[in-house]
């Protein structure tokens, strides 16, 4: 789980943060905090699906479920066998 969180945090940092942005933590609100817009969320979802060989149905991939690294990790856990 901790390793998964590190992987997700690293991806989010690379994919969404600009160089002069503050660092984020596992709890930082991503969508409601305006770091990841819901429209750009698709690449995160695709990354998780490829990385963990899972498929997250659209009704589960909500902005709420994607709102922090912690929440994303919980969601992913649901689908990895």
């Amino acid at each position: 789980m901790d390793e998964m969180k590190d992987v997700i945090l690293e991806y989010v940092t690379e994919e969404y943060l600009e160089e002069d942005d503050d660092e984020i933590s596992f709890d930082t609100p991503l969508i409601s905090g305006g770091i990841v817009d819901s429209f750009s969320m698709v690449s995160l979802k695709r990354f998780l699906e490829n990385k963990y060989s899972i498929s997250i149905p659209d009704d589960k991939a909500t902005p709420e479920a994607f709102d922090s690294v912690n929440k994303i990790a919980v969601l992913v856990q649901e689908f990895v066998k």
């Binding site: 969404y16 905090g33 305006g34 817009d37 429209f39 750009s40 698709v42 690449s43 695709r46």
Partner: protein, 415 residues
């Protein structure tokens, strides 16, 4: 079910939460034609106030230009008021095709198709030219109408960091296996006033076999030496595969839009784009006005040159006064205030001083990046800009933000 109290209550609740969030939009009624000097009724019911308009997209000052108005009158007389039909049934006049040909010439493309608006062009174009085997890779700050168009299209979608060409290249590599790739950007970004790096983008797209899409709504008519748009400015004239633009801003400001670009792509729009197929196109009177606009702009660069001078004068004035601006050289000049409430307060104070400029904040712009977006026009005379500058300085002093850095403003007011 009728519109009973329960149903009404649902909407009243939603409207209340919009109001509570402080993002309820209210119109201001303008009792004059669009120009640098306008007469405004605001709040509704109050007496008219003469103000200087600093937030119109009337970049070239053509919205109420006598020659354009005259041409529109003549068009009205010669071709009537309405068509009562969509294009492909019996809604196409000779002047529609004339305008399309003139836009093609002006933008240096292969062909053009008109749409009721650029919103419609953006909403319809992707679905018309792409399938699920393709990918759309868009800049993260593209206009809302492009986002809608992307949502309506079955092709896969990805985004890249704003104007970040390294990130774009990574995405092009990631999607190398797709049948067709389209990279999507605004030419000039409407909230920040910065210009897309079209030269680098075209090189990347040539390397990775991707098409380039540019929405030049905030550029057509005045960006580039002869005002053709960002492709002219960036030295890639003739190399953009799809350009969408509006006639609702610099090009007369009435309404209408188009898709202009590769012949086959434009033809696909005629065959398949739903806003073209299922909605009436631009009215003859508007078409006649736009034809005159393009004639004026093809004959002389005087207006865009004046706009460029005005813009430089305005940016210099604000910078010397000590405001924090978004850097750039376009007539969209955002005065950064960072705090949402501060942007609203300053907008209101400016209005009291006779200056009409609107504050923008999240979610229209990113969190903590509230601003007043000023937009310069060729119809501004030096005295307009001087008066506006005077008002900005007076209000800036009131809040003690002149000469303050971003950090200092945020410390004082919060982000």
């Amino acid at each position: 079910m009728s519109f009973n109290d329960t149903v009404r209550g649902v909407y009243q609740e939603q409207l209340k939460s919009i109001k509570d969030a402080g993002i309820f939009k209210q119109e201001r009624f303008i009792h004059s034609s669009q120009a640098a000097d306008i007469e405004v009724e605001f709040p509704t019911g109050s007496s008219l106030k003469k103000v200087i308009n600093m937030c119109a997209n009337n970049y070239l000052g053509l919205s109420s230009h006598p020659e354009v108005v005259k041409a529109a009158h003549e068009g009205l007389d010669a071709r009537g008021y309405g068509m009562s039909s969509v294009r492909f049934i019996c809604g196409t006049q000779d002047i529609h095709r004339d305008l399309e040909n003139q836009v093609t010439e002006f933008l240096g493309t292969e062909d053009t198709v008109l749409f009721p608006s650029c919103m419609d062009a953006n909403a319809g174009v992707f679905e018309a030219i792409l399938t699920k085997d393709d990918v759309m890779i868009s800049d993260r700050l593209v206009h809302a109408s492009i986002i809608d168009g992307i949502r309506l299209c079955a092709a896969e979608h990805d985004t890249f960091k704003h104007s970040n060409m390294k990130h774009l290249e990574k995405k092009l590599q990631l999607h190398a296996d797709k049948r067709l790739k389209v990279v999507i950007t605004d030419g000039v970004f409407s909230m920040d006033g910065d210009t897309a790096k079209l030269d680098e983008m075209v090189t990347l797209c040539e390397k990775h076999d991707a098409m380039v899409f540019v929405d030049d709504s905030h550029s057509s008519g005045f960006i580039g030496k002869t005002g053709r748009g960002t492709h002219e400015k960036c030295g890639v004239f003739g190399k953009i595969d799809i350009i969408t633009t509006t006639f609702g801003k610099a090009l007369g400001g009435a309404s209408g839009g188009c898709v202009s670009g590769r012949r086959e792509l434009v033809e696909m729009c005629r065959q398949k784009a739903r806003p073209y197929l299922f909605s009436n196109t631009m009215a003859p009177v508007v078409v006649s006005g736009v034809i005159k606009v393009l004639e004026i702009l093809s004959g002389s660069t005087e207006r865009r040159d004046k706009l460029e001078e005005n813009t430089a004068y305005w940016r210099k004035g604000l910078t010397e006064a000590g405001f924090v601006l978004k850097e750039g050289d376009t007539p969209i000049v955002p005065v950064m205030l960072f705090n949402a409430k501060l942007s609203q307060d300053i907008s209101k104070d400016l209005y009291d001083e006779g200056i009409y400029a609107i504050g923008f904040f999240f979610p229209v712009v990113p969190q903590g990046q509230a601003r007043i977006r000023t937009q310069i026009s060729a119809s501004h005379e030096k005295h307009h800009l001087d008066k506006a500058l005077e008002a900005f300085i007076k209000v800036g002093k009131k809040y003690d933000i002149l000469g303050k850095t971003k950090q200092e403003i945020i410390e004082k007011f919060g982000a």
